[in-house]
Symmetry: C2
Subunit: 345 residues, 2 copies
C-alpha cells in the first residue's frame, strides 16, 4: 500500500485537477485496489460537460471502467486476496427497498453508483466495498480488463433480449456500447447488422466483420426487409438515443421482436405504439448489470471474443486526463479511451 | 338451414340497412352457423363512425363477438357437428408469410379479420372456415357466450403479461375490455386496481369488487405507491388509448414491471423511455388471441368467473341495430350491447 495516491478531481466546467492525496485505507468490509487502467465512459463525458454537477458535485473523482490489483484488504473480508487482479462492479445497493427485496438489487431505489455517487477509479488507490470485487483469471491483460464493465453492460442487454442462435439482430447506433452489444450478440449466435450514421464508426463496424448500414444513405427498414426476406429482425438494440433511432426500432422489427432499450433517453420520444400492438413487439428496458453479467464479460474478454485492440483507440497517462477528455470530446473516430494509472506504459 | 337470412349491412355514414338475403351454404371446409347473439365491439363502433370505410367498404355485414348453433357443415369438415353450440375465433391467416412460419398466425401479414375484411355475424346465418370454430360446453347461455371473444382478448393480454398470483395489477381504463382484463387478472390471482375517469364506469368497476381510482380526482401514482408500500404494480394494462394513460403506465410501475399495451394508439404518444431504462420496465404489445386464449375464455365463462349479467347492459333485436348503435354511442353507462339474432327473446 502506497502512502500517497495521485487522483484526478472533476472541478466543474470541463476541468480536471490532478493532485496528490493520502491513500485511503480499507475499513471493515472494504478492499483497496491499485488501479491499472480506467476507461472514459460516456457518463464520465456527461460529467465533464457539466450535465451531472447536481449529482456528482464539483470535487469528484470519476471513473468506473477499471482494472487493478488488490493492494490491501480490510477486516471481515473473505475471498479477496492481496496481489490478485480484479475489476469492480460499481454498484452499492441498500438491500431493504422494494427493488432489493424483489431481487433487483441493480435497480435499488437508493442505488449508489461508485465513481458518480462516490469517488471513483481515476486515482492510484481506490477503496471499495468487498462485495463489488470480481477476480480476473491469470494472465488477463489489464488494459483489456478495463473493458469488462462496458462488456458487462452488453452482456446484460443481450441476456435480457433472450437472443437465440440464428436470429436476426439490428443494433441501432455503432458507438462503443453498440459495437460491444454487437460483439456479444454475435457470440450468442445472432446474425448482426449495425445501423450507424457516422461513416468513421460505420467503417470500424465493418472492419469488425459486421454488416453495416448507414440509414442516411439507405432506407434502413427496406434494407433489413431485404436481408430477412420480409421478416424483420427478431432482436433490436436501440443504442442511438435519438428519435430516428426510436422510429427505426419498430420499423425493422419482426412479429414478436424483442427491442432492448439500451440508450438513455432524457427526453420522451414519440413511439409507434400501433406497431407494438400490430406485431406484438416487446420493449425491454435494460440498466447496468448483475453479477452473472460480470462473470460472462470476464469470460468473453478472457476468451478473446472481444476485439479489445480495435475498441481501445487511445491510452493516456493520468497526468494527461484533461487532454484525454478534450481529445475524446472532439474525435470522430475514437471508440474507447483508457487512462493508464498504475498499468504498464 | 333456413333458405333466407336477415342481415344488417353497414352502408356508410352511421347507417345500417337490415335486409333479407339468400342464406349462404357452406362450401368445402366451411361451416354455416345460425347466430344467436352478436355483441357490438369498439371496432364496430369505429366502422359506424366511418373511420374504417377504406378497409370495410360500404356494403359490409359487421359483427364478430357472437354465439350460435351449427346449422350446416360443408365437405371436408371434421369435428364440427350440426346442432352444436359454438363461437368463432374470427381470424383467417395465410399460413405462408414470415409471421405464420414463425408460429404467430394471429399476426399473419395478410390476416383476414372476419366481420371486417369479410362479412360478419350480424345476420341469421354466417358461413365461416371450419378451423375458426370453437365448441361450447353443454348448457352455456348463448347471451353469455357472446362475451367469449372479448374475454379471449383479455385472456391473451393477461397471459402475455405473465401475471403471477399475488402481484399488484393496475388496469388503466375501465371500459368493457378494461373490466374484462381486470376480471381475468383477478381470476389469475392478481390484486387489481382500476383507473377510470368516467364516474359511471368507475362505479361499475367498484360494484364488480375492484379497487377503483379516478385519476382526475386523485394522484394515481401516489395512490398506487401508497397501496403497494412504495413498490408499484408488477403488471400494468394500458387500455385507455390516451397520452395521460401512457404517462400513468410508467409512473405506477414497479421495477421490472410488465406493461401490456392493450389499447390501439393511432397516434404516436410520447413515452417516458428513461423510466424503461431506470426500472427495467417491459412493454408488451398484445393483439387479438390465439386458440388457447379462446379455450380459456370459454372455460372462464362456463365457470361463471365473468360477471356477464353486469357487463351486458343492453340487448336489442337485429331489426333495431341502428337504434342500438345510436344508443351505445351516446350512453355514458353502457358496457356491452348485444344484438339478439336467433337467440331467445
Amino acid at each position: 500500500m502506497p502512502a500517497d495516491s495521485i487522483a484526478a478531481f472533476y472541478r466543474g466546467n470541463k476541468h480536471f485537477a490532478v493532485e496528490t492525496v493520502a491513500a485511503a485505507t480499507p475499513g471493515p468490509g472494504e478492499v483497496a485496489i491499485r488501479i491499472a487502467y480506467c476507461g472514459i465512459c460516456g457518463t464520465d463525458m456527461h460529467v465533464y460537460h457539466g450535465n451531472m454537477d447536481a449529482r456528482v458535485g464539483l470535487n469528484r473523482i470519476v471513473g468506473h471502467e477499471m482494472s487493478g490489483t488488490v493492494a490491501a484488504v480490510g477486516a471481515d473480508v473473505d475471498g479477496v486476496v492481496v496481489g490478485e487482479d480484479v475489476v469492480v462492479r460499481p454498484l452499492d445497493s441498500c438491500g431493504a427497498c422494494p427493488a432489493c427485496v424483489a431481487g433487483h438489487r441493480h435497480l435499488c431505489h437508493k442505488l449508489k453508483f461508485l465513481g458518480l455517487d462516490t469517488d471513483g477509479a481515476m486515482q492510484d488507490v481506490w477503496v471499495v466495498p468487498a462485495h463489488t470485487v470480481h477476480r480476473l483469471p491469470e494472465g488477463m491483460k489489464l488494459d483489456h480488463a478495463a473493458l469488462i464493465e462496458p462488456v458487462a453492460v452488453a452482456c446484460h442487454d443481450v441476456r435480457l433480449s433472450g437472443l437465440r442462435a440464428g436470429e436476426d439482430v439490428v443494433v441501432i447506433g455503432g458507438g462503443p456500447i453498440g459495437v460491444l452489444v454487437a460483439m456479444v450478440a454475435r457470440e450468442a449466435g445472432g446474425k448482426v447488422m449495425i445501423s450507424e450514421v457516422n461513416p468513421n464508426r460505420l467503417s470500424i463496424a465493418r472492419k469488425l466483420g459486421f454488416d453495416g448500414v448507414n440509414p442516411i444513405e439507405e432506407d434502413l427498414a427496406a434494407a433489413i426487409d431485404t436481408r430477412t426476406g420480409g421478416k424483420g429482425a427478431e432482436v433490436v438494440f436501440e443504442v442511438s438515443g435519438t428519435q430516428p433511432g426510436v422510429d427505426a426500432m419498430t420499423a425493422v422489427a419482426a412479429t414478436r421482436a424483442r427491442i432492448v432499450m439500451v440508450a438513455i433517453h432524457a427526453t420522451k420520444p414519440q413511439i409507434d405504439l400501433f406497431q407494438f400492438f400490430w406485431r406484438e413487439l416487446k420493449l425491454i428496458g435494460a440498466r447496468v448489470y448483475e453479477p452473472e453479467d460480470y462473470e460472462q464479460a470476464i469470460a468473453l474478454v478472457a476468451a478473446g471474443a472481444i476485439d479489445a485492440d480495435t475498441i481501445i483507440t487511445d491510452v493516456s497517462p493520468l497526468a494527461d486526463i484533461q487532454k484525454a477528455f478534450e481529445a475524446l470530446d472532439r474525435s470522430p473516430t475514437a471508440l474507447k479511451s483508457l487512462i493508464r494509472i498504475g498499468g504498464d506504459a
